[in-house]
Structures are given as structure tokens and as C-alpha cells.
């Protein structure tokens, strides 16, 4: 049971432009928390969006449990894969419950008339909010929430789709340290419940602290992939950022990245 890319190549613009991804093989397994790191422009978001079925690759393919993603009906794809982009900016006013109910509708819950706020849909909304510890926010307006609360609600909206794979593009961007830590703790917990969770992040230290597997993207391909504590070496850091960072040892044995 996995969401995988096979020799995936994606190019924006014309075919003569350099590829953003060049022959990437990546596998997200159910029940595992994967994080993707890399420098800006390495292709992290492109990989995630390709896995969500939002980009058509020039070569290679994305497969869901062995089936080519492009052969899957769009509605069925959405029931398996939940995707949260880096920026979500509703142009209108939504209550938290309404925003989450939109996810529940993908799972086929929500009646023509009840806004998805009654019956099975309401229960799905409450359950998703409860999962991210945001049930108390149910009746608040989305645009009144803090950055951290808003992120949790948006994740609840994706969870309400009841997907098996959760893809998040920089979910911790603009969150303070405590909220980042809480968010990654939550994602780790969701993976523990059987979801395949994959997120792109720029925070290598939090990635090392929470991810089951770390993947480093560099120059359009995977530079290294494996358990974070083993994978993170000075050579990897050097290859990605040059000689600007050093590795220290956390008291619990984890490597920690610091500027030189």
C-alpha cells in the first residue's frame, strides 16, 4: 500500500527548459511520516503536487497502490489523497465548520440542504476537528483565527476527506516554534494511526525530530533518503547548502543543524 513516483520527470515551460524533477523514484507508505527537505527550487513542491495528481509529468508516472494515478477517476483520487497547498486563501468568509465540511463532501457526506453541517457530515466535521484538537474552534470564522489555528483547521478539512495519504506543502510556514512542534507532533500521530503522511519543510531540525524518513531533494533528484538520524551528515548539508552549516549533537543523540 503506497503512493509512489516512478522515474518522474517534470518540466515547466518548453521541453528544452531544464527539468524541475528528473527521474525521481519516491515511495510514501501508509503508516509512515515522510518529510522532504532541500534548498529553494529543488523541486519539493513539484514532487508533492505531482503526487497529488495536479501536474502531468513529461516522463514517468505516479501510482497509487500500483494503479496509475492518471487512470483513476478524479473523485476516487480525491478520496485516497488529501493535499494541502502552501497557501490557502479563501476569497469569501467561511466558518470553521463550513471549511471542514467541504472536505467531508469529498467523502460523499453532506446533504444538498444541510451545508454538510448535520447528520453524518456533521459527525465527520467534528471528528476531523477533534483529531487536530480544534473542536472548540468549530463556530469561529476562519479569517479570525491565528496562523496556527488556521493551519490545524485546514488540515482538519483535508482529514475530513478521509484520505489514506496526506500531502502537505510547508504546513509549518509562518508558525512559531511551539505551533510548528505541535503540528509535526500531530502529523506524526496521524501517521501512527495508519495514514501515509508526507510534508515538505524547510526546518531540518524539526524534520529530524519528527519524521520517520527524511528525503533530501537536490538538483531535480533525490540526493538521499532514509531514517533522519542516520541520513543527516555533514556531506549532505555541504552538498545542499555549501560550507555554511555545521552539525551538532542533541543531548538525545539526534543531529542538529546550526549556522557556522
Amino acid at each position: 500500500m503506497s503512493l509512489s513516483t516512478h522515474s518522474l520527470s517534470v518540466t515547466f515551460g518548453t521541453a528544452s527548459d531544464p527539468p524541475v524533477l528528473d527521474g525521481v523514484d519516491f515511495e510514501l507508505e501508509a503508516g509512515r511520516f515522510d518529510m522532504i527537505v532541500g534548498a529553494n527550487g529543488a523541486g519539493k513542491s513539484t514532487l508533492l503536487r505531482s503526487m497529488a495528481g495536479l501536474l502531468i509529468p513529461q516522463r514517468g508516472k505516479v501510482s497509487l497502490d500500483g494503479r496509475d494515478l492518471r487512470q483513476l477517476p478524479l473523485a476516487e483520487r480525491a478520496r485516497h489523497i488529501g493535499f494541502l497547498p502552501q497557501e490557502v486563501s479563501p476569497a469569501f468568509t467561511y466558518s470553521v465548520a463550513e471549511a471542514v465540511a467541504l472536505g467531508a463532501r469529498v467523502a460523499g457526506l453532506g446533504h444538498w440542504f444541510d451545508h454538510g453541517l448535520a447528520g453524518a457530515a456533521a459527525r465527520a466535521v467534528d471528528q476531523a476537528l477533534d483529531q487536530v484538537d480544534a473542536l472548540a474552534l468549530r463556530d469561529r470564522r476562519l479569517d479570525e483565527l491565528s496562523g496556527g489555528e488556521r493551519r490545524r483547521v485546514l488540515i482538519a478539512s483535508v482529514l475530513a476527506q478521509q484520505p489514506r495519504y496526506l500531502l502537505l506543502d510547508e504546513p509549518a510556514a509562518m508558525l512559531d516554534l511551539q505551533h510548528q512542534s505541535e503540528l509535526f507532533g500531530l502529523l506524526h500521530h496521524l501517521a501512527g494511526e495508519g495514514l501515509g503522511v508526507c510534508c515538505v519543510t524547510h526546518d531540518w531540525n524539526l524534520a529530524v525530530g519528527f519524521a520517520d524518513r527524511l528525503t533530501v531533494l537536490h538538483q531535480s533528484n533525490i540526493l538521499a533518503s532514509g531514517p533522519p538520524a542516520e541520513l543527516l551528515t555533514a556531506e549532505i548539508l555541504n552538498a545542499v547548502f555549501g560550507d555554511h552549516f555545521a552539525l551538532l549533537q542533541h543531548p538525545d543523540g539526534r543531529p542538529v543543524v546550526v549556522p557556522k
Binding site: L84, V88, S89, Y94, F113
Partner: protein, 331 residues
């Protein structure tokens, strides 16, 4: 958002139908409802009293107002969702000025217009052509606001073309041209409102079939795409459907502004962004609203006489300040 959508729709239906049924009996000459209705239903024109003759004149006008108001409000709501801008109107893509230009061409130069025969066909043709033009320019633009900018530019372009037609037209025709610009529901007979119906039906059905997709698109286009909605397709098809509604109304009435902005804005707080509720609610409120606006316009006394003012002037006078108010208090 209201927790009682059924009740909301019930109230709006009562408002809309109530306005539609009562308005023909009200105005500068109030009519006795019972007698006039019975006489009119009998169909024997030779025995009609003056009241019944007035009723017969007013009925098509009220029906046209009811259809146009509903269509403009629905088109406005859809346009706002699809352009992701709560200040968009049915005319944002240039439908109104392009349609008016088409009508002007026919009215000012009947021999040049040739095959187009009726101004309303020319108006519909140009309004839809403008929508296609905006969509095709936007498809080639890399800017997210490309579609709105293309619409604004087209508005300017057709505005200048309008002035050109006015400049070149026979001065005796200017009064007719200006009357079109004001947006009026002055019609004789049921042919006009009834021939508007098929256009509106197509636009409405196209939008109502995609309400789920509109809901997801309104929240976030990229999330919608990940949720199985083909965002580009829904945007293109939705804008065409909304433009068809607006174009058909412009072709039959001339430009009637601000209903498409005012009504969805007033309702969204009660309906939320669930289009299966928002669009019908907009139709009901918009139809009732334009019927009342037209009743006011034809009943207003200015300088001691009944003005029979074109309704487009009134909706613009009310809607303009409302637009500015929304602009200032929007978060």
C-alpha cells in the same frame, strides 16, 4: 450562515412571488385586483375596463423585471465566485458595454448591421464575443488577475467604440441610443420576456449542475483541483454560463447595474458559500428586488409629474454608493 436554509428559501419565495403578483396592480394608477384579474383571465379584450388594459400593459414588464433581476443576481454571484472577487459584477468581463455596442450599431446604422436585424441579437452576439475574447486573452496571460484586467480593458475599448458610434450617428437617433444606455424594462406584449426564457434556462441549468464544483472552487482553486474538480474547466464553463445570463438580460433590457453585486452580497451571510442554496436564493431575492426597483422607477414623481424613469438609472443610483460602502468596509 443560517441554520434554517429551508426557511430562508421559503421566505425568499414568498417575497419574490409576492412582489411579482402584487407589482402589476401598483403604480401611478392603482388597479382593483379582483375585477381586473378576472377580466384579464377571461381573455375577452373588447370588454376590458381601463384597469384591465393597464394591467395587460404592466404584466409583461413585471415578468421581464422578475426574470432579469433573478438572472443578474445569479450571474453576479457566479461571477464573484469564479473570479474569486466579492466585488465582481455580471458586467466585469465587458458583457454590458460590448452588448450595448452591438445594439448601438444596429440602431445607428441599420443598413450596415444588415443581417443582424434586431438590436437584441446584435447585443447578445457582441456580449458573448466579448466573453470569449476575455477568456482567450486570460488563457494566454500568466497573471492571476489577467481575466479581470482583460475585462476592464475590453470595457474601455467598447466604451470608446460606443462613443464613436454616437459621434457618427444621425443626431436624430441619439435619443434612441441614449434610451438604450439607461437600461429599461419598457416592453409591450409577452413575446419579449418569453423569448428571454430559453437563454436564461441554459445559463441557469449550466450553473446549477456544477454547484458542488463552485463550492470547492470558491474556497481554493488548488485544493479544489486536488479534490477532483477541474478548476480551469469549471472557471471557463461557469464564466460562459454567467455571461450568457448577463448578456441575454443586457440584450433585452440594456444595462441594469448593481443588482448582481448587491443581492449576492446581502445574501451570502445567510446562505454561506453553498451554491446549491446561494444561487436559488439570489434568483428569488434578485427577481423581487428588480420588480420593486422598477415599481419605484415608474411611480416616482419628479417635478410634479410621473417620471417613468428607466430602472437602470435607479439601480445605479442606489447601487453605486452601496458598492463604495462595501469597498470601504470589506476586510
Amino acid at each position: 450562515m443560517t441554520p434554517r436554509p429551508r426557511l430562508l428559501l421559503l421566505w425568499l419565495t414568498a417575497f419574490s412571488l409576492g412582489c411579482g403578483f402584487l407589482a402589476p396592480f401598483l403604480g401611478t394608477e392603482p388597479i382593483a385586483i379582483g375585477t381586473a384579474t378576472l377580466e384579464w383571465l377571461s381573455g375577452d379584450r373588447s370588454s376590458w375596463s381601463t384597469d384591465t388594459r393597464i394591467l395587460d400593459l404592466r404584466l409583461p414588464r413585471v415578468l421581464l423585471a422578475w426574470l432579469s433581476g433573478g438572472a443578474l443576481a445569479v450571474a453576479g454571484a457566479a461571477m464573484q465566485t469564479l473570479l474569486r472577487n466579492s466585488l465582481a459584477t455580471p458586467y466585469t468581463l465587458g458583457v454590458s458595454t460590448a452588448g450595448t455596442f452591438g445594439a448601438f450599431l444596429c440602431l445607428a446604422f441599420p443598413s450596415v448591421a444588415g443581417l443582424l436585424i434586431l438590436p437584441r441579437f446584435a447585443a447578445l452576439l457582441f456580449a458573448l464575443a466579448a466573453t470569449f475574447l476575455v477568456l482567450s486573452v486570460a488563457r494566454r496571460s500568466h497573471r492571476s488577475d489577467g481575466i479581470i484586467l482583460a475585462g476592464v480593458t475590453l470595457n474601455f475599448l467598447f466604451g470608446a467604440a460606443l462613443m464613436m458610434v454616437r459621434y457618427l450617428a444621425d443626431p436624430y437617433k441619439l435619443a434612441v441610443l441614449d434610451r438604450w444606455l439607461m437600461g429599461s424594462l419598457d416592453v409591450v406584449g409577452f413575446d419579449t420576456p418569453l423569448s428571454l426564457l430559453p437563454w436564461l434556462a441554459i445559463g441557469l441549468v449550466l450553473l446549477m449542475r456544477r454547484t458542488d464544483a463552485l463550492d470547492q472552487f470558491a474556497f481554493d482553486p488548488e485544493m479544489a483541483a486536488a479534490r477532483g474538480i477541474q478548476a480551469k474547466t469549471i472557471r471557463r464553463d461557469g464564466l460562459l454560463a454567467a455571461s450568457l445570463l448577463a448578456a441575454a438580460v443586457v440584450a433585452y433590457t440594456g444595462p441594469i447595474g448593481f443588482i448582481g453585486l448587491l443581492v449576492p452580497h446581502a445574501l451570502r451571510g445567510y446562505t454561506g458559500m453553498r451554491h446549491a442554496l446561494l444561487l436559488p436564493a439570489c434568483w428569488l431575492a434578485g427577481s423581487g428586488f428588480l420588480v420593486i426597483a422598477d415599481l419605484c422607477a415608474r411611480s416616482l414623481e419628479i417635478g410634479g409629474r410621473h417620471s417613468e424613469m428607466p430602472v437602470g438609472i435607479l439601480t445605479a443610483l442606489v447601487g453605486g454608493p452601496f458598492f463604495l460602502w462595501v469597498l470601504m468596509r470589506e476586510r
